[in-house]
Amino acid sequence: MSNITDNYPLSEKRPDRLTTPTGASWKDIDLQSVLDGTLSMSDLRIAPETLELQAQIAESAGRSQLADNLRRAAELVRVPESKILEVYQALRPGRSTPGELESLADELESQYRAGRCARFLREAAQAYDVP
């Protein structure tokens, strides 16, 4: 394989590599599966592996910050929406002490293996903490 961007768009060129976090594959998702009720919104989700592929594509196009974002996103695939909203709220101005952000970071790291997100939170805590 010459270049990772040759695989882009994945939906056209590599649908075989696309699965959902629930284990469904690209070809499983059709109108019939919706009508049968065998498919739910939670099946229509991107997999961490796919986000990693997209991160590599972004990186090879020279977009390191976008790649970082997509890698944080890959970690958040495993994190439930309620927890995501909780973290978001905690990051908003004046919502939490550095210690609270620190413990959320620990939780992301230990429970969801979200190391990059945890680091991002710690960097925020540090930045917020400067008087």
Binding site: S11, E12, L18, Q65, Y88, Y128
Partner: protein, 757 residues
């Protein structure tokens, strides 16, 4: 004290706009506030410890974020050492590729970026924008809202917008509880016609995320960023919270674009005496640092504020340009009402329209302004024809296409029917047939029947609470006979698995096919490179509904066989001093049948005959084949006339009174403005010709002055003249015409009245 003229000028639309002087202390200045920092950077042991003259200890949150995530420290010292004018020149140097500049600008500070961009004049900024936008193919986004929040009308407007070429649609709410229904109607409408467009509903962050998770929207654009910490806090966010939110959306396969723009900090009272461009550069660096693929900027809802200041429109172009220098997708504003003056609005639009951006509008009001819940809409549904003409004039791809009235009605009706079916199937408050019909043909929500607002709001609230989603809509559509729409929505939802539309500048074309800066990178390197219109696209842009086929113009009734004139051999030279020759052009009464104004040739001829007879002289009609020129037609006629006087007339109706011994291009009277000639004028022309022959004094035929005549008629004039010229037979002698059948047809009354007693 004003003159009457100045008084009228003062009431022109432009003078309803607000204009103010600069006030740097409050941030009311575009570039170069005396309080702006000077460019500079200091890096110590791999750590940025001074940014634009500010030591790390004094960094605010935005400085810290930028320092940490947005500046490539490995290149920064070398990049910052470059002369700003030299960097500015590289921006418009076609020898320097885009990617090299993206790397360079990724290593500059906000003050340096602004200094470089400020070295460019407006045209140079446009050249730079053409080269620096991320995606090669330009595109466009529409706003779709209505004041009654009627779902059938939303769907119909969405369907029409997509049919017209918009590749993204954005709606919002008047009452936020409507959001699920508005999003649903937009989703259905957007996939009704040719499809496929991404859709979003601009609401508060948490609700916006919920709608996207429920598959009711397919992207989000609400992540606002500000250039000072205080303004950021007033927006109840920090760069970190916004960046985290962006990752949250991406984790669910949802496209996100940030929002920023000049003027917002001054409006909020937190500009800290910095220029708008300096603050916007900070925003854009924060957005890049957050890992966003793109931004909508161009002042957005604040636009009238920078436009009140000197250099405001140039400044807004500069902020668009900086977004592309940060390698961000750019939806370039042009959305909120920016001026009362059409001239000013159009002129401003050209700065984004001509270079092209990823989305030229970050919301073109696809419905009439009165229904725009985003605060007006700088251009609206009634300007779409203008927009299509601008594309055709400039041969520029502005993302839209002309569509036929039939196609518009068809998709509108189907979208409204689809919403009706989904609401019925999901037992939501019913959409009546009357609503479907009204939505199909409406001008605006004023034409829509009232709905039960309380019932709608209750149902909309339950919709999300009960965990309903885009899949319910897909099922309902499929079961109600709208399989095609169901499949398109599913295909769009399925793209979430791929994340393809998370890449920079992604748009989704019918298929669905994702086109982004990855597989369609802007490769502009001067003439012969970059985006160009394909032959099909050129044809599409050219094919305005109102464009006529010149081959058919003026010949609408010429397919009838025969005519009212019969040729009776070669015309002789007359000897009767009481005759006036009417010399007609080669297509008169045959290939063409009426004048420029549509007056039938037969009636024109009859009027002139009547005029001649009213003076007691005798008309003779001849046809000239050798020329289509009015002067020469009249001149030839005069050579044949026994009195030496002739009237020459072209098919388009231009008329001359000529005399035998005058030069061909001289005349007794010329009536070049055919649009001003009516039947009574032609009768007077006949009378005047007769009076010249009798040697009586002649008062010239009165004509009206119409300044718009040339504008209105030059095309038709040209085409009719071309048809006439095509009938010229150089060596064919003039022909005598027998017009007696015409007299019979016209009835004897007119003739008898015209004859002197």
């Amino acid at each position: 004290m004003k003159s009457k003229r100045l008084d009228l000028s003062s009431r022109r639309p432009i003078n309803q706009d607000s204009f103010i002087q600069e006030w740097p202390e409050t941030g009311l200045i575009l570039f170069n506030s005396p309080f702006d920092p000077k460019p500079g950077i200091r890096i110590s042991r791999g750590r940025l410890c001074e940014l634009d003259g500010k030591p790390e200890a004094e960094f605010d949150l935005i400085d810290r974020f930028i320092a940490r995530y947005a500046i490539d420290l490995t290149r920064a010292e070398a990049a910052m050492a470059l002369d700003s004018t030299e960097v500015a020149r590289r921006l418009i140097d076609i020898g320097v590729p885009r990617r090299e500049l993206v790397e360079l600008f990724g290593a500059l500070t906000p003050a340096k970026i602004v200094e470089v961009v400020n070295r460019l004049n407006t045209v140079e900024m446009m050249m730079a924008l053409q080269k620096m936008r991320a995606r090669r193919t330009p595109s466009n986004q529409a706003h779709v809202t209505n004041r009654k929040e009627n779902p059938a009308l939303l769907a119909a407007d969405a369907a029409e917008a997509v049919e017209r070429g918009f590749s993204e649609l954005e709606t919002t709410v008047g009452v936020s509880r409507y959001a699920p229904f508005n999003a649903l109607a937009l989703l259905i409408g957007s996939q009704t016609g040719r499809g496929t467009a991404l859709t979003q509903c601009a609401v508060e962050e948490a609700l916006s995320l919920k709608l996207a998770l429920a598959g009711l929207t397919t992207y989000a654009e609400t992540l606002s960023v500000y250039g000072t910490e205080k303004a950021f806090h007033d927006g109840d966010d920090t760069p970190w919270s916004k960046a985290f939110l962006a990752s949250a959306y991406a984790s669910r396969g949802i496209k996100v674009r940030f929002t920023s723009g000049t003027g917002s900090e001054a409006l909020m009272g937190h500009a800290e005496a910095k220029s708008m461009l300096y603050l916007e550069a900070r925003c854009l660096m924060a957005i890049k640092g957050a890992g966003s693929q793109g931004v909508q900027n161009g002042s957005i809802s604040c636009i009238a504020l920078p436009e009140s200041l000197p250099g405001g429109v140039r400044g807004v172009l500069a902020e668009n340009l900086i977004a592309t220098l940060m390698d961000l997708e750019l939806a370039s504003g042009n959305d909120a009402l920016a001026s009362h003056s059409s001239i000013r609005k159009s002129a401003k639009l050209m700065l984004q329209f001509l270079p092209g951006t990823d989305y030229i509008f970050s919301g073109y009001s696809s419905m009439p302004k009165e229904d725009n819940l985003f605060g007006g809409g700088n251009f609206d549904a009634h300007d779409l024809d203008d927009y299509n003409v601008l594309q055709r004039d400039m041969q520029v791809d502005g993302g839209l296409r002309p569509v036929s009235d039939e196609a518009v009605l068809k998709v509108r009706r189907r979208a409204a029917q689809a919403v009706q079916a989904v609401f019925r199937h999901l037992e939501l408050p019913p959409v009546s047939d009357a609503e479907v019909e009204a939505a199909t043909r409406a001008e605006s929500s004023t034409d829509m029947p009232e709905r039960d607002v309380v019932g709608d709001l209750e149902a909309a609230g339950r919709f999300l609470e009960e965990g309903r989603s885009g899949l319910d809509a897909i099922r309902a559509l499929a079961r109600e006979g709208f399989d095609d729409i169901a499949r398109k929505i599913l295909a769009l939802q399925k793209l979430r698995l791929s994340g393809d539309h998370l890449q920079t500048s992604a748009m989704v074309l019918p298929g669905p096919r994702v086109v982004s800066a990855v597989n369609d990178p802007n490769d502009y390197r001067g003439p012969g490179s970059g985006y160009s219109l394909s032959p099909d696209r050129r044809q599409e842009i050219a094919s305005l509904n109102q464009a006529l086929d010149p081959r058919e113009m003026g010949r609408e009734s010429s397919s009838e066989p025969g005519g009212f004139l019969r040729e009776a051999g070669e015309a002789r030279v007359g000897t009767d001093p009481g005759e006036i020759v009417i010399a007609i052009g080669p297509a008169f009464g045959t290939e063409l049948r009426s004048t420029l104004l549509g007056i039938p040739h037969q009636e024109v001829l009859q009027a002139m005959i009547d005029g001649i007879r009213a003076e007691g002289l005798r008309p003779r009609v001849v046809k000239i084949y050798a020329t289509s020129d009015c002067g020469f037609i009249g001149h030839r006629g005069a050579q044949l006339s026994g009195s030496g006087i002739a009237i020459g007339i072209q098919s388009k109706g231009t008329t001359i009174i000529h005399q035998r011994d005058l030069e061909p291009l001289n005349n007794l009277e010329l009536f070049p403005q055919a649009p001003n000639l009516d039947l009574s004028s032609y009768r007077t022309i006949g009378q005047n010709a007769a009076k010249y022959a009798k040697g009586e004094p002649v008062a010239p035929v009165p004509t009206r002055i119409d300044n718009t005549a040339r504008l209105k008629y030059i095309v038709r004039t040209t085409v009719l003249h071309l048809h006439e010229t095509r009938q010229v037979v150089k060596d064919r002698k003039p022909r005598e015409l027998d017009w007696s059948p015409m007299q019979a047809a016209a009835g004897s009354g007119a003739v008898e009245k015209a004859l002197p007693a």
